[in-house]
């Protein structure tokens, strides 16, 4: 495996992390592995069925690799604090993904740290409410 200056292969976690992406199979991703990418946003696609971050990551030799990072749907993301305007081309971010099993530069978003330190996940279902609390707005 190449050594990326700005990629950290994180510890293999025990058990699959919680992930609320539902549109399709996630069998292609290695959910036991987390890869941390430090890169520059090339494009942020605020789209269904999934939003995507195109992230340019540079290694120590100056070689650049573009990663595709799959997020949840804008619905699920908006309900956890995401907005379309949170990411723009040129932003430097730290992204943790479950990478593709086959090693190609593509991952399923676990979390992202924005410029201002805000940490967001891939989006989620509406936060559950205990029974008895949903009768009024």
């Amino acid at each position: 495996m190449k050594t990326w200056a700005s990629i950290v292969i994180a510890t293999v976690v025990a058990g699959a992390p919680s992930l609320a992406l539902a549109h399709h199979s996630f069998a292609a991703f290695d959910r036991s592995k987390k890869v941390v990418l430090v890169g520059v946003v090339k494009d942020f696609q605020w789209t269904n069925p999934h939003a995507w971050i195109q992230l340019v990551v540079q290694d120590t030799q100056g070689h650049q690799t573009e990663w595709g990072v799959e997020c949840g749907s804008p619905n699920m993301m908006a309900r956890t604090g995401w907005k379309k305007g949170l990411l723009a081309p040129g932003d430097q971010v730290v992204v943790t993904v479950n990478p593709l099993l086959d090693g190609r530069p593509n991952g399923s978003l676990v979390s992202i740290t924005l410029n201002d330190g805000t940490v967001l996940g891939p989006g989620d279902a509406p936060a559950p409410r205990p029974l008895g609390s949903s009768a009024t707005r």
Binding site: A22, N48, G68, N75, T136, R137
Partner: protein, 260 residues
């Protein structure tokens, strides 16, 4: 006309109207008999999650059977749908998928005098339940959502659905082999054009939960009926959002690398 005069006229008209209006009854007999005003209208979030599809007790969703009573055709169709290559991820969901998913996308029930309409945030097509006493047409054309007619049995809405085209996603088809939950590792649960779905919907937990008991009769796919119960929590704090699935169909990139 000045504002005080307009107001005075309104008061007079309202007073006259109330004189002729029948006095409200008390008890169950006072409930309107139409489709509307039964308290079903509103946004509901399916209970349960991928990590815990049954949801919290005591109102727990029925889990899909681990060993479905497949016919030979049903077993083969289940295997076919388990292949990610066969999954058309933006296909319409179908009525069972609508009513048995866990809590990612809300449903909205709309009540009109002669129809109840159910919208699912992740699906562009509504479920339209005719409440005007009509029967299923004899020359019914197959469709994604089928033809639904409903009637009230007390406070229970009984919905009968036929006329499916058999092309909707598997009824538990969120993500085959996703390994997100136990349910996702179970066999795909297909439905065919022979599906006959009978649902009994009612409000429980002081109206906060909507219970749907689904009886899935599909002799082409299953040798016996499959019965599921699912619960939906009323969420007036949530508004429905848009979801146009084909906006950016990048499924290919999951297997072919980045790029739009």
């Amino acid at each position: 006309m000045s504002a005080p005069i307009r107001l005075a006229l309104l008061v007079v008209v309202a007073t006259l109207a109330s004189c002729g209006a029948p006095q409200p009854e008390t008890g169950a007999a006072a409930k309107p008999r139409g489709a509307g005003e039964r308290g079903f209208a509103g946004v509901f979030v399916p209970t349960g999650s991928f990590e815990d599809p049954a949801g919290p007790p005591p109102f727990q969703n029925t889990r899909w059977p681990a060993t479905p009573p497949f016919t030979a055709w049903g077993a083969e169709e289940s295997r076919r749908l388990a292949d990610p290559a066969s999954l058309k991820t933006c296909s319409p969901n179908g009525p069972v998928f609508f009513m048995s998913e866990v809590g990612i996308f809300p449903l909205e029930f709309l009540e009109a005098p002669d129809q109840i309409v159910i919208l699912r945030e992740a699906s562009g097509m509504p479920r339209r339940i005719y409440m005007d006493g009509r029967a299923h047409p004899e020359d019914l054309e197959p469709s994604w959502m089928g033809h639904s007619i409903g009637r009230w049995e007390g406070d229970t809405l009984v919905v009968d659905t036929v006329g499916l085209n058999g092309k909707a996603r598997a009824m538990n088809g969120v993500g085959s082999n996703a390994r997100v939950s136990e349910d996702d590792a179970k066999p795909r649960m297909p439905s065919s054009d022979k599906l006959h779905l009978v649902e009994r919907m009612k409000l429980v937990a002081n109206g906060e939960l909507l219970e749907d008991e689904l009886t899935i009769v599909d002799p082409k796919t299953y040798t016996e009926p499959v019965i599921l119960k699912h619960y939906f929590q009323r969420r007036p704090d949530i508004d429905m959002l848009e979801y146009y699935c084909n906006d950016n169909p990048r499924e290919d990139t999951v297997v072919s690398g980045p790029g739009k």
